[in-house]
């Protein structure tokens, strides 16, 4: 890199060197990469716990590990994946990188809070890892009382404290996004010209702001109850253990939408770019994100149909749960309609997007089974639930996360990933996923409860299928991990806009300079104007100039 000048400017990666320049950075793009590294580490860890679970369940008898160990393993799998991978995943990695770029700003509104958010995440992760090393926790990721407060002898408090801190990390990210989207949009970038990814991040941030504090205070109550025994959840002192479930799900059900909404935002970008058409029904897709965010707060009781909550409350939660399915369905229909008369390419990100549509459709429709009060009684707390939420979380969120990572990889690193391997791994992930989780629907309806260390022998065949699928899925995840790292060094250089996409992030160089744009972009068209983009490409080809500049 000793070429003297001539090159216009250094990009954000080469702008500074050294560990210090990374650990003290305030550049949202570098923080996104820090998050990418730590989130990936947590995903690998959570994946290893999943491997242990699937190995144990190969045989009906609990012969691989002790029941106590198994309980800790599935608890840690849940905590790692939910709180340290799925919730921060898309917002903190892709969102951090893209929100300022997509709104045409130089950075997020509060860069130091952004860095603080990463440090909080890291400290939270360290607490949780510490708790694992000194013996783990065995309450399940749901921490139901009174087991977690009065009976479990494992390290509940350190882990809960870790999640408490992770909650603040997530609040800071959400706060930053809301303020940035409100105050720092480029000239001409009105709300209904924003990319749908931004709408999704905005809706997600609202959920984070309104829900996460309740989780935080719930953990405080849990800690007070466990540490000082003040009786909040202890029936012996008049407390109600079921109240904990209300609090917990007031956050943790909307948290499902914290996980899936950003994924839906990624989907809109992918579908539009690879069919070169604006997203069908843009205002409906945008508003459905908000509708999901707001309605999603009032359905938490569908986790409690068998919990002894009142029958009437159950019916109210049931009807609201059915209603929240509608905006999700609207999104799926609109994505499908976007493909109509498009110009469709089958690059890796689009394969993941197709996978998302299929798996999310199944995941969403099986959600209807659970909103059905009378049916939920039977399938609640069985593998049917496990299968359903893995279809949403793994089949939805992770598919979109991987699709998005492939899509923006050229922008993030300035390098291309190997397309052939990419498509292959997308197919392997899809196949492995279905083999892993489809049998769990069946074994769930047969009545196999979740969190079982040993199970009756007649469930074995389905469990073996699931474990076999998990090994394929694992391979599918390892391939991108390898070629992404490989491509950072050996990949071909990426152009500014390799996909012919329309977002502002594609109007700057790959990778972008530290302040994102050489001149503040001015926006004059809606988010997905491919004709304008084609005109820009023609102009660039004719003028021979670099692809930078505004979208005038």
């Amino acid at each position: 890199m000793n070429r003297p000048h001539a090159e216009p400017a250094l990009d954000y990666i080469t702008a500074q060197y050294g560990v210090r320049s990374w650990l003290l950075t305030r550049d949202h793009k570098r923080i996104a990469l820090l998050y990418l590294a730590s989130v990936t580490a947590m995903f690998v860890l959570g994946g290893l716990f999943a491997v242990l679970i699937r190995l144990e369940l190969l045989t009906p008898a609990g012969d691989l590990m002790q029941a106590e160990t198994y309980n800790k393993v599935f608890t840690m799998h849940g905590i790692m994946m939910v709180f340290f991978f799925l919730i921060p995943g898309i917002p903190a990695v892709l969102g951090n990188f893209l929100v300022p770029l997509m709104v045409g700003a130089k950075d997020l509104a509060f860069p130091r809070l952004n860095l603080l958010s990463w440090y909080l995440y890291t400290i939270a992760g360290a607490f949780t890892l510490y708790a694992i090393v000194v013996g783990g926790v065995d309450t399940g990721w749901t921490f139901y009382t009174p087991y977690s407060t009065s009976w479990s002898t494992s390290n509940v408090i350190p882990v809960a404290f870790g999640i408490f801190i992770a909650g603040f990390s997530s609040i800071l990210t959400g706060l930053n996004f809301i303020v940035t989207i409100h105050t720092m949009r480029a000239p001409g970038l009105t709300w209904f010209r924003l990319p749908l990814f931004i709408w999704a991040q905005y809706a997600t941030s609202i959920i984070i702001m309104l829900g996460t504090p309740v989780l935080a205070i719930t953990i405080v109550m849990l800690g007070l109850e466990r540490g000082l025994h003040i009786g909040i959840f202890d029936p012996a002192l008049g407390g109600d253990p079921v109240l904990f479930q209300h609090f917990f799900w007031f956050y943790s059900h909307p948290a499902v939408y914290i996980m899936i909404l950003p994924a839906m935002g990624v989907m809109s970008e992918l579908i539009s770019t690879f069919s070169r058409k604006p997203v069908f029904g843009y205002p409906f897709v945008a508003c459905s994100s908000l509708a999901i965010a707001l309605l999603g707060f009032f359905v938490w009781g569908h986790h409690m149909f068998t919990s002894s909550q009142s029958v009437y409350a159950g019916l109210v939660f049931s009807i609201l749960s059915f209603l929240v399915a509608i905006p999700s369905a609207v999104k799926v229909f609109n994505w499908t309609a976007t493909l109509y008369k498009g110009s469709i390419r089958f690059d890796t990100p689009m394969l993941y997007a197709f996978g998302f549509i299929g798996l999310f459709t199944i995941g969403g429709l099986t959600g209807l089974f659970l909103a059905c009060t009378g049916l939920d009684i039977h399938v609640h707390d069985t593998y049917f639930i496990v299968a359903h939420f893995h279809y949403i979380m793994v089949g939805g969120t992770i598919m979109a996360y991987l699709g998005g990572l492939h899509f923006w990889w050229p922008k993030i690193t300035g390098k291309l990933y190997p397309e052939g391997w990419g498509r292959l791994s997308a197919l392997i992930v899809f196949a492995g996923f279905n083999l892993t989780f489809f049998p769990q629907f069946v074994v769930g309806y047969l009545g196999m409860p979740r969190r079982y260390h040993a199970y009756p022998p007649e469930f074995q065949v389905l469990n073996v299928m699931s474990s076999a699928g998990a090994s394929i899925l694992g391979v599918g995840y390892l391939i991108p991990l390898v070629y992404f790292i490989w491509s950072m060094r050996y990949g071909r250089d990426a152009a500014a806009n390799p996909w012919g996409a329309t977002g502002l992030e594609w109007q700057t160089t790959s990778p972008p300079p530290t302040e994102n744009f050489e001149t503040v972009p001015v926006v004059t068209t809606h988010a997905y104007d491919y004709h304008a983009q084609a005109a820009r490409e023609r102009a660039a080809a004719a003028g021979g100039a670099g692809g930078g500049g505004g979208a005038a």
Partner: protein, 99 residues
């Protein structure tokens, strides 16, 4: 910057009213209002909080986004409270075995 400067006189007036309301809420608690005692106490508290927000916190002079967000936050709290109570209050409605 462009923030609205509120005259000191308004601050003192609001302060005086807040003290009066504090006195009133203590006095009201000495009356036998039955179940209305809680309502009176909460109404007074809400009035006081609104006064602090409008003048001390300048909500009266700020952009509309802020009152909107604030109302949203309080509405969300009411919904948390209300929906949790919808469970507790209706638990007794189901004809219980043996009734």
């Amino acid at each position: 910057m462009s923030a609205h400067v509120v005259p000191r006189r308004i601050y003192f007036t609001v302060f005086t009213l807040l003290m009066v309301l504090t006195f009133a809420t203590v006095q009201a608690s000495n009356l036998d209002l039955g179940r209305w005692a809680l309502v009176v106490a909460l109404v007074i508290a809400c009035v006081k909080a609104t006064m602090v927000m409008l003048w001390f916190m300048h909500v009266k002079y700020s952009s509309r986004l802020i009152p909107l967000g604030l109302v949203g936050g309080f509405v969300w709290l009411m919904l948390l409270l209300g929906i949790v109570f919808s469970d507790y209050l209706s638990r007794g409605w189901v004809p219980y075995p043996g009734k």
